[in-house]
Symmetry: D2
Subunit: 485 residues, 4 copies
């Protein structure tokens, strides 16, 4: 795809796969709105006062139908928005088209190359002469990373005159990032620093991005305030758990049509995502096994009747392997060559380094057959056994299906809206330092509240006497901070 | 689509959507073979002796990847095969293309009109000058119906000179059938009777077709022997139950991406199919309710914690409605107009008369929006509420997804192969009269056996003393005929 | 316990553990009545016409609270009743006391010796000078067996003058039976033949007893008509399945207080009882494995995510073993000595020959410690490992807990009442030969109907058009005979 | 029961129900040891160094078999121990007898009056002339409460000469506490203050007790350091959740034998305890409904397919009611009189004020029938409907069954041992102030580790590279403090 920015008749920039899918996207967006009561409540509550008036928001987050409803909630509250996906396979092209046509600048399509991916990220942050965004919605932290790396390189360049060198790293993706920054530096050696100056803060969506933020906070290198949306209860205990419980089997079915019942499935990692995956597989009739490093999570699996073993123990027995760890080097090529013929190997963690794709690609004599996009069979020359790799090792639920369903994303994204509102409201008060924050519990409870009526639920009200007895306000919050749900 | 028969380079007839999808179909067929141990065992066991040598088999059964493996098992055993789908939406076009190119005459594509559907059925039965098939594989009984109606019309015509009159019925589909027979009669007034003479028998796949056969047996109108494959344990208690448990959520997700967790779902009918659907929905986190006419099935639902109510009781509360009854007029337009906005209404029973599509289509002022193929939103003019109808009221798992997965279809289709072998082997012995038969239990047990190793199972062997104690042969069959599993 | 028959003030015979528990028994009977709508409906429907007027009914069936409600239903319909338990551990002494005091002649207590057990059975059949019962309610077939063996011995004696010789068998229990008959023969050499003459028929409760009846039918030795209650759908698919799902964990908990979650549990046999047990253990968080001889049942287990292995495969890994086969010699002493320390071994099948108790008792140097009644630890001398045996290998749910709960027994026992009514009504019509019968489907459906309202269920009614379409009467029965539910 | 302290032959004080049950208790203790690997590991690891040498530990915690293993772990590590139950119904008399005979001073029996209960608590804290304990193991905080109230009263008395007045409160139980302190004051006006001086700290077992401690910390009235064991992950996410999942149905079955399948069950509160209860009921085949005040917990229930309603909504429909809130006044007499006949009402929260027992007892004309101990039927005079109350509104799993099983209590109690060790080790270092602490995560992970091998689990080890990548030590702890599991 030629990397040229296009413009709508109204002059808004975009780059999407196929603008003719905009109508289809709009229809699905309208269906999704009915399933996203939290976001629609935000529009109703905050829309009239236009709190984002004058705010520029850049988002790097899977450009799906659900994200479209998020974007149009931000614009309904007055923001100007630019958007890119945070994964090369996660864009839904009809969603991208509808948003590009109707609401915001979008740079995203399903099946980007890594080069294209980072070009999109750069476009998303590029608000023209006036510099960068006021706020960032990030998922996995790539937008945040680009700014931090950009600032670091500019400072280094100012001090030493040294440009970033893509050859200084083995990591193919980081080479692209360095190249991008190098090229930018040549044009404007203050670009990322100006961006940083303007930036009010970032709200981060996922475990992986949050980990990066806490590391930067610990190192003292974090350049702007960050709100950790991931660890809102209504995010991590819903989207990560129930979202994956829904979208893992969805991805498996769309990619392979395999019968899950009767199969042996291994879930690597039993955190929130792993718990959702294991539950889904078990309920579908698989025998599930878990690998874990953490004895507490391991004991949780055991209490649910799920054995905890090492990957080596189960290699030859399992039919389906899912990585959910957020760590790297989980399933290596040496593991894969010991698997049964047509074992399915996939990842539902944020990054693509859980499965050793490089090892697979460079295995001597290996043969790859693409069954259909995002479903490949890799055959080992010695055994003639194949493994089926989904989404090239990337997030299989977004690569092979449509990701989490609208209702649970409404929880996550309502947290995003609230986080963005909070950062913007407090932009001049100094309330937020260059640190990582979580949303206060009463907002977490509010997000949950907004999703109850749609499901027909009725809450019980505390009497003042009962509230006093357990020492909480009648209106909440109801739990101590350390409460685990 | 112009209804012209095409021919492969080898002269085999076909009519499919897109022959260029044959390679893709072949790849998925190869994956499916690994998941269908029963059929592959049949090839290994019977292939060398070519038992179907000289047999013509016509099949009317969803032209999917799994059916492709069935067809190629029949041809591997020596048969010549012609095929059509038994549902206008159930064909997978890449499967049809691969089979048409490589193995058998196929007349099927996804999205046939009813006119096209019956043209395909007629082609499937049309073996040219030499007449009809020796054997039929039927699903729902449409091929069987066509022959029976044809014979009846020919006899009537011979007696009275009266041609069938499409206007004699209100049923749009039956009008087409009568028209087809009328046209055939004009060309050859003995066609269907010659077909009947040649026919050795039919093996029927599903509850609905079996019901028709037993009615014909009761009426004394059945024209040839029939084997009821549906009521093999390894069919009805597997495909109907576990197949639907898999493919119902698959269809829901592909069609609507709706989050099932938290929703209220109503399953009409709690037979094998309904049990599978209810289990799937419950496991996905829905609150499930069931409607039933049969007090025993109702009590089973209750024992699983599922309330049994009437449709009227739950209309305004439910988000998802699924019909599984095999009966007609289950969800009427008057029901639908009382539903919540965007309630999903779908059918997983064989025929399309469980949901009142005619009532919906003819509702004054109703507006239909096609979100995507097989997913329509119908908006009532008065309330502005819409219902989402899947697959136009036809089998949603085949219309919106890919039907049952390979492994469970291997059970069903191994029964089909065994039934066809049995009919063919006994074609001259008079063993089978013009009646409906079920396969003997030891064959049922054999089908199960063929599927155990793939799942890593090990059976226990009876000692002779134990076998004597419970009065069964060491090698089985192990259960009395009335055993319910 | 001295084997002397006692009498109530009204002159009714009995032998129970402790008459002072009658009040407690009465309170629990009253609670159970609320949970047994089928039986209470029978009282309401049939009580006024006293259909059992003049009928003598002997019952050999676990003398529990639920059975008490059955007995008092029979007496409410006009019968005279004598009762014994069909298992040495299954009597609830307070139930026995209440019935003995208030309603019927009872000979039963928890913890009978085998000698006592058969004495009770004999008393139950002994209606004094006037001979035997008109009807038998049997569970496992011991009452039926005694009569058949008695008749055989009397005929042999008449022909040859030979008395039965207890030393002719190794089976300790059968020695007692022969001794009993020998002693009876000396007193009255026509006793059992007179009993047979009077007997209208038997209704049999359980799989094991039914198997015996079909064997006798096959051999031509069945002496009177039998109704197979076990294979009513509302019995075998409810009591066997849902009853065991309830009472297996109940028995485990009361006997051992062991945490089921996290444990490895092996269920031998995956019939209705095994399915209930496996479901209960899985739901409680155990990892469940199944052993099976039947490939169909094995495949069912696999579809539920339960591996199928041989006992040898899992001996060293499992914590809990349950036999449910209805066969003999399932867990032998050689198996037990390879188990983990404190592995729990128990049986929920009808007879006590599934677990090799004899092998255990006679293992050289083995040491038995009774933790509490029905919970014993047997320590092997070599390994010092112990196995925990429940209820001495007999039905653990009745030995260690209180058996199946009232609601599900109401289904089973309503079938019993209906079967008894049918036999009695047709006693003079010759409708029932010396064969085994099942109840017609409309009565099965009626039993289910009687249990719906209590659970708040509402059935849907067929329209006449719908009924015609599926060829069933509007009022049922709704399913063909071969339907499996 | 006459409140006289007895003495063993070795001079150790005790007061238990029946010393002849000591052998039975010992047998069950030995079984439990096999199920409590965490405690047995503590004995192996710490026993040789006798870290508790010289320490006096007083425990107020259900005197069950599991607690017996805890006590003997404390004594195996060198402690001297005195013990009482923290609930009038929760003692297992055979456990109390065995401990009293063999290991520690015990004052506890099943079915204490409130007067007896507090006498036992006082005895437990009374180490004779030398004053009080060094350490307290508390459950619910009654021992802690008594000391705090004692100190308060002594200070008040010293200042004003005023004795505590039982009539100053309506609360019957608190009247007893005040009476006790008043009597103590007369004997020794420094007793509780001396106790406080000696006290190193308390470790608290349960949510309710922890709430009290945090309130005292907030008020500044906490008199000694406290470790919050409840909020160890390996306590609250195991014992509260999986313990209740096990013991709720156990209690229901032992108390009522009711069939859970098919019933409508209402769980008030969906915290850890409520989640365990709801899971158990659902799995047993009940239709479960939840009441909640907290929108987040409510949304969790909905995601599991459990409707959230108010108690009023479900009063007339439900068969079983369980309170798990930790709050008061949940089910009032006005609720109860609207329930179905024989609705079961029970509490599994710590205190007995969730169910309005006072309202029930004082309802005009109400009639109570004790079916058996801890199972009462209360009949309302107007409707003649009864409700079945378990354990007089107290913890039904301990009152009607035997509480949580050994394995999960091993997790909880290993935390107790570690907490006690920590308090004792740091008694002179000033590490712990008069505040509430939770155990550090690495100890939490250690507790989990100690329970894996018993269940056959194998952990995966991080490579140093992986550990670095996710910024954790190879040996853990693996999660941030805010992680929710």
């Amino acid at each position: 795809m030629a990397l040229l920015v296009e413009k709508t008749s109204s002059g808004r920039e975009y780059k999407v796969k196929d603008m003719s899918q905009a109508d289809f996207g709009r229809l699905e967006i309208e269906l999704a709105e009915v399933e996203m009561p939290g976001l629609m409540s935000c529009r109703a509550e905050f829309g009239p006062s236009q709190p984002f008036k004058g705010a520029r928001i850049s988002g790097s987050l899977h450009m799906t139908i659900q994200t479209a409803v998020l974007i149009e909630t931000l614009t309904a509250l007055g923001a100007e928005v630019r958007w890119c996906s945070c994964n090369i396979f996660s864009t839904q092209d009809h969603a991208a088209a509808a948003i590009a046509r109707d609401s915001a600048a979008v740079f995203a399509w399903k099946g980007e190359t890594l080069q294209e991916y980072w070009w999109c990220t750069e476009r998303c942050l590029d608000w023209g002469a006036g510099g960068g965004p006021d706020l960032i919605v990030d998922d996995g932290g790539d937008a945040t990373l680009l700014i931090h790396e950009g600032v670091k390189a500019e400072e280094e360049f100012e001090k030493t005159g040294k440009l970033p060198d893509p050859n200084s790293t083995d990591n193919a993706e980081f080479q692209i990032v360095l190249g991008l920054i190098r090229d930018s530096l040549k044009v404007d050696p203050h670009r990322y620093r100006k961006m940083k100056e303007r930036l009010v803060g970032v709200s981060e969506e996922t475990t992986t991005g949050v980990k990066r933020l806490y590391q930067m906070q610990a190192n003292g290198t974090l350049l702007f305030p960050a709100i950790n949306v991931n660890d809102a209860v209504t995010k991590s205990k819903f989207d990560n758990l129930y979202g994956c419980r829904h979208s893992l089997p969805d991805g498996l079915m769309r990619a392979t049509d395999v019968m899950i019942a009767g199969k042996v499935a291994v879930v690597c990692g039993y955190g929130d995502v792993g718990k959702g995956c294991a539950a889904a597989l078990k309920q579908a009739g698989a025998r599930v096994m878990v690998t874990e490093i953490d004895p507490i999570c391991a004991l949780q699996a055991l209490m649910e009747g799920i054995p905890v073993l090492t990957l080596e123990d189960v290699l030859s027995e399992a039919d389906i392997f899912v990585t959910t760890t957020g760590n790297k080097d989980i399933i290596m090529v040496d593991h894969m060559k010991k698997m049964k013929n047509n074992a399915i190997v996939c990842n539902i963690g944020h990054f693509d380094n859980e499965i050793d794709m490089l090892g697979l690609e460079t295995y001597p004599g290996i043969q790859r057959t693409t069954i259909k996009p995002q479903t490949d069979r890799w055959v080992f020359p010695d055994t003639k056994n194949g493994v089926i790799i989904l989404a090239e090792g990337r997030l299989m639920n977004l690569g092979c299906a449509t990701g989490h369903p609208s209702f649970v994303m409404s929880c996550s994204f309502t947290n995003q809206v609230i986080a963005q509102l909070e950062l913007w409201k407090e932009r001049a008060t100094g309330k937020y330092k260059k640190e990582v924050y979580v949303l206060p519990k009463h907002l977490d409870e509010k997000v949950a509240s907004l999703h109850l009526e749609k499901l027909g639920a009725k809450l019980t009200k505390l009497t003042p006497e009962q509230a006093a007895y357990i020492s909480v306000p009648v209106e909440g919050p109801y739990k101590p901070l350390h409460y685990r749900y």
